[in-house]
């Protein structure tokens, strides 16, 4: 039945609209970004071919610093998401009364429009009167008010914490599902043999949730690398460029200064990194599937 010619036509006809859509809105812009990166496109009517000039121009110390910053920012954010997500999932998995309510209460940061959650954080970070600075002063941990978004190093960590806050609910729920799919008899067998709670976590939960952790950290890596809203709303890449990641940098060049050609060159560099992550992701998930014997 599924081998007939009409089935072949039907299957591709079902796929055609989605394929066409993605070709026009994603694939073509990708190619176009690549093409524009070799031109001096701007608001002017004329577009000239400039060869590799844009690339020669952008590869300087500032841009390298932006790349390094993007990687460290992403690394710390993903690491914290994985650690907090694992702790959250283990806690929510424990058989205590109220756990269903706790699971629901985990979701708001993920479900609420991102920008609105970020507005709330921008108040939290307010130096004079925000909650964090306020509580720190109350407990005498800092001498005076701390304006978190006004200094490079605190703004860097503040944007990471907000990114973690937005990412944790999804990671937690995903890990929780992974933990719950671990067969119960493993725990019962270990318990019968006198294994402590910690040993059961260390020897059963952790190894068996590892595929989920790896998959999620790769997905999270890609999403975090692309993160735009948080930094844009909180700091716009400031103060003095201390939270400028590659995406923010590209946006400022292309949309802020209308240098489409140079912006495209910066976007191409991002695309190269993303493609590498993407390849790594497919590789890793394929390997995980062969190990786990999943479909």
């Amino acid at each position: 039945m599924t081998n007939s010619r009409s089935a072949w036509i039907f299957a591709w006809a079902l796929l055609a609209p989605a394929i066409l859509y993605v070709l026009v809105i994603v694939a073509w812009p990708l190619v176009e970004t690549f093409r524009l990166s070799f031109t001096d496109a701007s608001l002017k009517k004329t577009v000239n071919w400039v060869g590799g000039a844009n690339y020669a121009k952008i590869f300087n110390d500032t841009f390298l610093a932006v790349i390094v910053r993007t990687f460290t920012w992403t690394f710390f954010s993903v690491l914290l998401k994985m650690i907090i997500g694992t702790c959250g999932a283990v806690l929510l998995n424990s058989a205590v009364p109220g756990r269903h309510l706790f699971r629901i209460l985990t979701m708001p940061p993920w479900i609420v429009p991102m920008a609105i959650g970020i507005f709330m954080w921008s108040w939290m970070y307010n130096g004079q009167f925000g909650m964090i600075s306020g509580l720190l002063q109350r407990f005498g941990l800092t001498g005076g008010p701390v304006a978190f978004l006004a200094y490079g190093s605190t703004a860097y960590w503040a944007t990471i914490v907000t990114d973690v806050w937005i990412g944790v609910p999804m990671v937690t729920i995903y890990f929780l599902a992974a933990i719950q799919s671990i067969p119960k008899d493993l725990y019962e067998a270990a318990w019968t043999d006198g294994a402590s709670r910690w040993t059961r976590f260390r020897r059963i939960t952790l190894p068996l949730m590892m595929p989920a952790v790896i998959t999620m950290s790769m997905l999270s890596l890609i999403a975090t690398f692309n993160s735009f809203d948080i930094i844009w709303i909180l700091t716009r890449g400031g103060p003095s460029g201390q939270t400028t990641t590659m995406i923010i940098d590209t946006y400022n060049t292309a949309i802020g200064s209308k240098k489409y050609g140079e912006g495209s060159a910066r976007a191409v560099v991002i695309c190269i990194f993303l493609s590498l992550f993407c390849l790594a992701y497919f590789r890793v998930t394929r390997r995980l599937q062969t190990i786990g014997g999943r479909e």
Binding site: T2, A7, A11, W12, L14, L15, V22, V26, W28, P29, E32, T33, L36, I84, C87, L91, L92, A95, V96, F102, R103, L105, P108, I111, V112, P113, A115, I116, F119, M120, W123, M124, F129, M131, L135, Q137, W165, P169, I173, Y174, A177, A178, Y187, R197, A212, T215, A223, N226, F228, W232, I247, T250, A254, I255, S264, A267, C271, C278, F282, E295
Partner: protein
């Protein structure tokens, strides 16, 4: 001494009192991190602006009121328009995604012709590129088509980036529908299209609902970068951009911003409480088996 010791609790799930205390302390710390901004934001929305800027910091407001909530409408006569725009854009995106994804997911679930596996891989790769990376050509495309400063400029690009996860989720769901149904329909002389429309779609409708909800939430929460870049008309702004444009400028009127935020997220919060079962299912179905 163990807590919760009754007939029904399995031995393995019994905790010592200090274990229970530790678990609750951990859960409360975890939830405090996730919910503190909402709590603080809500308390700020209840305070008069003058009281907001007082030292030392106090958590609980004195003589709080809902004044800021009515103040929002004076400052932002367009407030409901923003909320409406958010809903309109998300709904349009969701409908478009479903129209494209339902047939495609069925094709991926039921047929395996040469070339389909790479296409599925390509779809997944799409989700790796955020809209922000492709803004330059998209901006030029929208400008050429004359769509800048219209709803379309916020709807069309948004759809593309929500397609991959929707396909993945719905494909997983549809693979669970037995092939025998197709075979039976075929034996009865039903055409491929008739089978799809009359046999598969009704059975798949719960899965389609989950995908619709997930897509709507995605569209509702992520409408920032396209709206920021492709639209500058106040009357078309979705809520996040509207608030960003009006409050982000000089002196931020914090209590009203928070009040507006809470009125804006109320629909989303209501959705969580009614649909949280679908949400957990939707999030995990496509991923962990």
């Amino acid at each position: 001494m163990a807590l919760f010791r009754d007939e029904n609790t399995p031995m393995i799930d019994r905790y010592r009192w200090w274990e229970v205390a530790g678990i609750y302390a951990g859960i409360f710390a975890f939830l405090f991190f996730l919910l503190a901004p909402f709590l603080e934001g809500f308390l700020v929305s209840l305070r008069p602006l003058s009281q907001l800027f007082t030292s030392p910091y106090r958590f609980i407001p004195e003589n709080g009121s809902f004044e800021a909530y009515s103040g929002v409408f004076e400052r932002l006569p367009n407030f409901w328009r923003f909320v409406f725009n958010s809903f309109l854009i998300s709904t349009a995106v969701t409908v478009a995604v479903l129209l494209l994804v339902v047939p495609a997911a069925y094709a991926f679930a039921r047929f395996s012709f040469r070339g389909m596996a790479p296409v599925l891989g390509a779809f997944l790769a799409v989700s790796m590129f955020s809209g922000a990376v492709l803004l330059i050509p998209l901006f030029r495309l929208m400008r050429t088509l004359g769509l800048l400063n219209t709803y379309w400029a916020m709807i069309i690009p948004g759809v593309a980036f929500l397609i991959p996860s929707a396909i993945w989720l719905l494909r997983t769901y549809m693979m669970r529908i037995p092939v025998e149904l197709n075979e039976a329909a075929y034996m009865d002389g039903a055409s491929q299209f008739y089978t799809f429309r009359r046999v598969i779609l009704p059975i798949a409708s719960p899965g389609i609902v989950v995908v619709a909800i997930m897509t709507f939430i995605g569209a509702y929460s992520q409408q920032f970068v396209f709206a920021l870049t492709f639209n500058s008309k106040t009357e078309y702004m979705p809520l996040p951009i509207g608030l960003f444009a009006f409050f982000g400028k000089q002196e931020v009127v914090w209590n009203q911003l928070m009040a507006a935020a809470f009125m804006g997220i109320a629909p989303a919060v209501i959705i969580i409480f009614f649909l949280q079962r679908y949400l957990v299912g939707g999030l995990t179905a496509g991923a962990v088996k």
